[in-house]
């Protein structure tokens, strides 16, 4: 913080206000890796395109892991700041998505919810009383599912976040978690076994 102040006072401009607007149209066509390389060279427009491209998936990966909308928002913010701050560490020969998703799951797992902390705010359906029976049942089912997800291990929560929050394929999950494809399948298999058992015990 203080360094930023000092540097700004010395007249270094780190932020181009014009860059905050709509990104240059051509940039939107570029691959993640090209954009990341441009960002490494100081191109803030490229960063804006990456934020635009990834904000929804990162938000939902975080949401699957922490189970709280506001917290997911904070985590997504943190992830993009980390990307900007540490882009020098990204190796362009690797895939960008695996790098950013790994930052996302690590950041989310650090603020991961504790089991039994699932609150009513997590429900999609607003809790008015009395709810029509069918809606009430769906809300109850969703609450059960959040509670079950919260009891998974950090690794399993990360898996569920990548699979259902970002809709990644098994191969993409393997690339992100840096493990063989077979391992991802085994982990997912076990995680789902645990979930089915938990849900059956619950109902």
């Amino acid at each position: 913080m203080i360094f930023g102040v000092i540097s700004t006072a010395l007249g270094r401009s780190y932020f181009d206000p014009e860059a905050a607007g709509s990104p240059v149209p051509q940039q939107a066509e570029l691959s993640d890796e090209t954009l990341a390389r441009r960002l490494q060279g100081g191109d803030v427009d490229a960063f804006n395109v990456l934020v635009e491209r990834y904000q929804q998936v990162i938000l939902n990966v975080a949401y699957r892991i922490v189970g709280d909308r506001d917290e997911a928002q904070d985590i997504a913010q943190e992830v993009f700041v980390k990307v900007y701050q540490h882009i020098a560490q990204f190796k362009p020969e690797r895939r960008f998505f695996s790098w950013i998703y790994r930052i996302a799951i690590n950041t989310a797992l650090q603020t991961r919810r504790k089991p039994q902390m699932t609150s009513l705010e997590n429900l999609t359906l607003s809790v008015q009383t009395p709810l029509p029976d069918e809606l009430a049942e769906r809300a109850e089912q969703e609450r059960e599912l959040w509670t079950a997800l919260a009891t998974l291990s950090p690794r399993e929560q990360a898996l569920m976040g990548l699979r259902y929050g970002a809709d990644l394929s098994y191969e993409e999950i393997a690339a992100t978690m840096d493990v063989p494809l077979g391992t991802v399948k085994t982990w997912l298999f076990r995680a789902k076994q645990r979930l089915t058992t938990l849900l059956e015990r619950g109902s």
């Binding site: 930023g4 540097s7 010395l10 997911a72 700041v81 997912l188 089915t196």
Partner: protein
């Protein structure tokens, strides 16, 4: 055929194709136990898929932009040259006041006792009588250059992102 448990999970997620999928379907038709498992798995997959998808609010990107404003732009090289230049200017400015500076360490100068407030006051008055503007400028420039070097060193020493 044994119950194809793992294949059922993949089938329920729509990730199984080709011969394996055909074989698993063939088994499913004949095995009530697997049919029950498959139904549970399909329902779990549907429930997980049906969890709400959040839409990012414009506030998210705005907050990110606000926060990166205070950060160094990626790829910006530390300004070692600027720091060096300020330091050199500071040293030059200090040259004419060298005698004043050296006088501070002179044996003939006796610093007052720590609790002797009036003594310190007299000492300061004597010092300021000898001080030229260049001394102040020089000391400030050297200090700024030092802060700049420390700040730049710290910002380049970033921990591995996780």
């Amino acid at each position: 055929m044994q119950h194809p448990e793992r294949e059922l999970y993949e089938l329920a997620e729509g990730e199984l194709t080709g011969n394996v999928a055909a074989e698993t379907y063939a088994h499913l038709r004949t095995c009530p136990a697997c049919q029950a498992t498959f139904e549970r798995l399909t329902s779990l997959h549907a429930r997980l898929t049906a969890l709400p998808q959040l839409q990012p609010s414009p506030a998210l990107a705005q907050a990110v932009h606000l926060r990166i404003r205070a950060l160094p732009r990626p790829g910006a090289r530390p300004h070692w040259r600027v720091a060096g230049l300020i330091f050199a200017v500071g040293l030059l400015a200090l040259l004419p006041s060298l005698d004043v500076l050296l006088g501070l360490f002179d044996d003939s100068v006796h610093l007052p006792a720590f609790t002797d407030w009036s003594g310190w006051f007299v000492w300061l008055e004597q010092l300021s009588a000898n001080v030229e503007a260049t001394l102040v400028v020089g000391l400030c420039a050297v200090a700024v250059a030092c802060i700049l070097v420390v700040a730049q060193t710290l910002t380049t020493l970033q921990p591995q992102v996780r």
